[in-house]
Symmetry: C2
Subunit: 384 residues, 2 copies
């Protein structure tokens, strides 16, 4: 396979975007990425999205978006892997170009969640879990994560307040990201006193929904160069699954698919966790941030809250996470999230991350999670 | 890219499969393909499906199916392109292996439509059209195709009965396919007198829904050989889109995406229409069979009904279509259809098509249509 680069990126602010339809949101991000890449179109388009069929009565987003952005006649598909749909679409674009099948591919992640009643969205999100063995018994995604968090706290002797730094770091960073849904820092007491959703998960542990879209252009390293900006190479792309139902895992507090896809990615990029300068992980809930850090090899089992307490996850720390706000503050429009992570990693590697710029960021890792860890996709990007 | 082959195929009978859940249907086809290929698992899985979120309250079919068939931890995504989801999943599997990213990939198409009220399924099918400009105005898919058929009849001076041979051929062939939903021939008078759905489309012009699943295994030609059976190579894989809304096309009776993807496919495979021994096309409606034959270059514009009248579309004719029943008689479980077409083409190339075997079949073409022609995927398979 040939080496590929991220030639352009685009995103819209995550928000309740009442005045923008699904196609307008996706189109804005896609057109910004094309402008940023200084190209007019690509031959292939991969759209990451989870719930447009239910939330927007619109499927077939490939042809839908290709038509809207002036790329009629190009190849165009939707890729779905629940909350990891965005990274899945990015991975397909990487594969399309790396294989030589096409020279330019566009990956767009989009989700418009505000138009539907929240109860419907909650039910739709639950379709990422096992319908027969989880959702049918009333388990929502918050409930599933609450069970995992409670088990983790018991297993490793942590209290709820020890998860505060994950939320505080995300909101502190989001305050400097104009595309984030929430742009103000929070205090430790506001974390502790936030309304409970599903004990032990409160509002400040959980990422907000939103309407959003993000996009990236993939090109062969040998054929395209960005003028005046560092080149960002895709050094690794790896995906792995785990059991669909959480209770089928021998160790529900260990993200085996994160471990597998991260190890494959390290091998592809010839790096180790020590080489990673920042890690845009999937903090849909604070517990998921902790589990991702552990499974990807940044600390021992059960020790992620310590890493967070020590400030190592902040922009100036050993392994900065959620540097642009993460899912917690930037927001989690599910099918778009994986592409936001890519866009934010590229911003860091281009030295365009403003107040939360990580010093000398040269190698960035992103990790997008579908379900309660049943589908995990890891990418490593390198600037040159 | 390296050369790839279809190492194994599997399918279940299209039917109202009340006793088989979504995972059982997909699992049976997948496991049959693995058995046929004489392998235990693949590293990558691509699931083609359109409406499981709405019809089965289950999304995230990649991880869901990987877990069920004993391929936990492998990579697994769902690919959606409306009724062309099956071919899209097959194309992703081809790309994954051709690129060298993986050595074995499994593509499964599945749809379970019987569990939901028909009105809901009709509404869900309409999400393949443009929500704002088509579905919202009451256009169902039958209605869209009826408009196209009426226009075609006017433009080229055909009467409704001239479309009978498409339906008669499909049902005559389906009578010999144990996996077909309908297994008995129909007469010309039963075609003429069938109940009207949306004038000029009657029941015998339209393909039936159903619950079904079909699967194929892709492997590199250099590493795997089937013992005792012809090797079936994937000689071409191409996809193209058209406008999302039918009324945006300057010529609604011309499938531009079919023309484009077929031309690309001919080029990739270094063949012309004259070399194709059989064509598994997307006869969701008889009009679509006619338009596909024309756009793919088998006859002049407006002349497909003549080809059909002459018997050239029958197994012994110049360009046999729907040789195992097509969408009309085998059935059209939407996300699975593209994989059924691949399975049936492979059966022909392996000389396993029984009473409807095409003599000396060496090159087969398949074409899967999403929407009213907005996404069209063409594959060419060759036996050696």
């Amino acid at each position: 396979m040939r080496e590929v680069i991220v030639l352009g990126i685009g995103q819209v602010k995550v928000d309740e975007n009442w005045d923008k339809s699904l196609r307008v949101l996706a189109g804005e991000a896609a057109l910004e990425a094309l402008r940023d890449a200084n190209i007019e179109q690509t031959q292939s388009l991969f759209v990451g999205n989870m719930m447009s069929g239910a939330a927007n009565h619109q499927q077939h987003l490939g042809a839908y978006l290709a038509d809207w952005i002036g790329m009629r006649y190009s190849e165009a598909f939707k890729v779905e892997a629940a909350c990891s749909s965005g990274a899945a679409a990015f991975r397909m674009a990487v594969m399309a170009v790396a294989s030589g099948d096409t020279d330019l591919a566009l990956a767009v992640g989009v989700e418009k969640m505000s138009d539907s009643p929240t109860a419907e969205i909650t039910a739709e999100l639950a379709t990422a879990a096992d319908a027969d063995w989880e959702a049918d018994h009333g388990l929502s995604f918050v409930a599933l994560n609450a069970l995992i968090m409670r088990r983790y706290m018991h297993q490793y002797q942590w209290e709820k307040e020890h998860f505060a730094p994950f939320s505080l770091n995300a909101h502190a960073n989001g305050a400097h990201n104009p595309y984030a849904r929430f742009q103000k820092p929070i205090s430790e007491s506001s974390y502790i006193n936030a309304p409970m959703i599903a004990d032990p998960i409160n509002v400040m542990d959980a990422s907000p929904m939103g309407d959003g879209a993000a996009a990236a252009i993939i090109a062969p390293a040998s054929m395209f160069k960005r003028s005046g900006k560092p080149t960002v190479k895709v050094a690794a792309s790896a995906a792995a699954t785990d059991t669909m139902a959480t209770h089928h895992r021998s160790e529900p507090t260990w993200l085996r698919a994160a471990e597998r896809s991260a190890k494959q990615a390290y091998q592809q990029a010839s790096v180790s966790p020590a080489d990673i300068n920042l890690f845009e992980l999937h903090d849909a809930f604070t517990i998921m941030a902790a589990l991702s850090l552990e499974a990807a090899g940044f600390c021992e089992k059960g020790q992620a809250p310590r890493l967070a307490q020590e400030g190592q996850i902040r922009p100036e720390g050993r392994i900065p996470i959620a540097t642009r706000g993460g899912l917690k503050a930037r927001g989690h429009p599910v099918g778009a999230t994986g592409l936001y992570q890519i866009v934010e990693a590229v911003q860091q590697l281009r030295n365009e991350a403003g107040a939360t710029q990580v010093n000398n960021a040269r190698i960035a890792m992103t990790q997008n999670i579908g379900g309660s860890g049943s589908n995990i996709i890891t990418h490593i990007l390198k600037s040159e």
